[in-house]
Subunit: 354 residues, 2 copies
């Protein structure tokens, strides 16, 4: 029996990666009920909506689950960067007939707040995971005192050591292949981001905590490979994007099943932080990575939002974040429980219990 | 018994990655004698030196070995790019007292030529591998007719398909973690380069040829993981750099064992093509990647050569290519045969014969 699975009360040491914007409680529940760890991403939910989702999970499963928060530091608006960004987008506003003066600025993703900490104390999720580091010590301490097992993402060996020193119970080694936001928090230098084959064993060697492999794992063979490299558990996101329990849009689903899915890139256009998605028109024409001045995370989203809406209304994902990892060959339009069971076969391939 | 190992007459399906500039026949022979496939890189050898090395291999082992060539297309000198590059280097020329007017321009690495094809016909290496695609059809046909088994590197799924269609016998899936030169030849867009966890299974699925995993594999666990992901063989380079049989400089060896080794990056400064090495001063200050105009591969080397020599004479690797993969934790200063045997334990971990 895998020690981490035992500690978390799981049948399988597999975590469904929290994916803000493409899932709510239905995916969480389905994965947890299948014996793995379902996750609920809080970053794009209002406090009221988050409470509803948590209550839905509580009502539908008594198995362990994971509540995930972004814990970035909130940034002030940067008028110059906002103006530059809107100027870059102006040709598209013209093309789509969008009135740029009517677009509000603002932050589309909320960091882990005192209010969120209070919700954790009230709802007591068995596992809480953080992306972009850890919250300030007092707020983290509230999470730990609630009884939650605390996970956090590391994209470098230094970050893994930092997380161990600052109170994480386990480290998610987020390889460069992973979809969605890079979790880096000690350095913005993307050349420091490592592929899973390099990151996982180096983190495993550097820390005493359990290490969860993430990035590029798409099927049972990938699970077996990650365990062979020393992982205590795996975290898988992209493979779940076509499941009926995900709220992935039809456009996003179509993109994942198209030839375009073969080319993902890290882009900061959609939020201000690098995140991996399928390359589309706006990434090709303005990026994929835009240098300063660019609105800091998560303030890039607002100016792009009406273009995304207008393009999607025309059936186009040209301005949508089509998050995906580099290995989207495991995406299957099957129930999440079935996918979870298929992935978990990777744990029972012989030779992994050594 | 692994089919590819059987086809190549190897005890283990492990290939020592050819590493131009840091090895000659001694490493090739040691690895081949240990039951894996030693490689000799031809790119930085004159025809006469190459002939000597091949004769040394022939004299010292009767086991299979691999002769590796770069097969880039030779580029004409670009006076404007050369001038821009020298201008960027002028502050360093001043610092080191180098007379820039005395530096010859030129190409430091030779592509696969008719003369090289004649050498293959004469020496009949059991395996020939190519980097940067494949040579023109007539020249490739000479290699095939010599009886050599032909390997070539793919960094994308498209490149793997192309290699299959153009006469490779097996494909090396070069993950982004790999040290030294990226082998891409269909697109220069580095965002298309995939980590091993994503690249290997996608190539395995796309082609009918045997697939050799490369990039990030540093120890027996890495070997087991690559095999779990579907590899028919593995190729390992960085781990051999500290072996006494390698010609790795003392500076390079020291860098690999220092904290600096944790940070590698792709840089085009040293040759004109992106290659992965440990980040040093020139990479930090001028790159790591320089946009056009920059002398095309391999013409960037000449202008940097006297700085490298001057810095190395002072005990500094600030201007040296310190090639390394992202996972250099497997480097060990032990005989190559011993390292090979340790790596090959990854093949006999249970569960990999399925």
């Amino acid at each position: 029996m895998n020690a981490l699975a035992q500690r978390l009360g799981l049948q399988f040491p597999l975590i469904q990666a929290p994916m803000a914007g493409v899932q709510l409680h239905a995916l969480t529940v389905a994965v947890s009920e299948a014996g793995a760890l379902g996750s609920l991403p809080a970053a794009m939910l209002t406090p009221a909506a988050l409470r509803d989702e948590v209550q839905a999970i509580r009502a539908k499963t008594s198995r362990p689950w994971n509540l995930n928060f972004f814990c970035h530091v909130e940034t002030a608006a940067d008028a110059q960067a906002e103006a530059a960004w809107r100027q870059a987008l102006q040709p598209y506003y013209d093309e789509f007939g969008v009135d740029a003066t009517a677009i509000p600025a603002g932050a589309a993703r909320a960091p882990f707040s005192d209010e969120a900490a209070a919700l954790v104390e009230e709802c007591r999720p068995p596992v809480v995971s953080f992306h972009f580091g850890l919250p300030p010590p007092a707020r983290l301490e509230r999470v730990r005192r609630s009884g939650a097992f605390v996970l956090a993402s590391a994209t470098t060996v230094d970050e893994a050591r930092w997380l161990q020193a600052h109170g994480a119970d386990a480290v998610i080694a987020q390889g460069l292949e992973a979809g969605g936001h890079r979790g880096h928090f000690l350095s913005d230098d993307l050349s420091r981001q490592l592929g899973s084959f390099a990151l996982l064993p180096q983190i495993k060697r550097a820390v005493q905590l359990p290490v969860i492999a993430a990035g590029g794992i798409a099927d049972a063979d990938g699970v077996a490979a990650a365990m062979a490299l020393g992982a205590d558990a795996v975290q898988i996101g992209t493979a779940y994007l076509l499941c009926p329990e995900a709220t992935t849009t039809a456009l996003h689903r179509a993109a994942l099943q198209s030839e375009a899915a073969a080319h993902t890139a890290l882009t900061n256009l959609f939020t201000g932080r690098p995140a991996r998605g399928i390359v589309n028109r706006v990434m090709r024409e303005l990026g994929p990575l835009r240098g300063a001045p660019h609105p800091p995370f998560p303030r890039s989203t607002a100016a792009l939002a009406p273009l995304r809406a207008a393009a999607e209304a025309r059936g186009s994902g040209d301005f949508s974040p089509l998050w995906s990892g580099q290995n989207n060959t495991g995406c299957q339009a099957i129930p999440a429980a079935e996918l979870t069971r298929a992935l978990c076969r990777g744990f029972s391939l012989p030779g992994l219990s050594r």
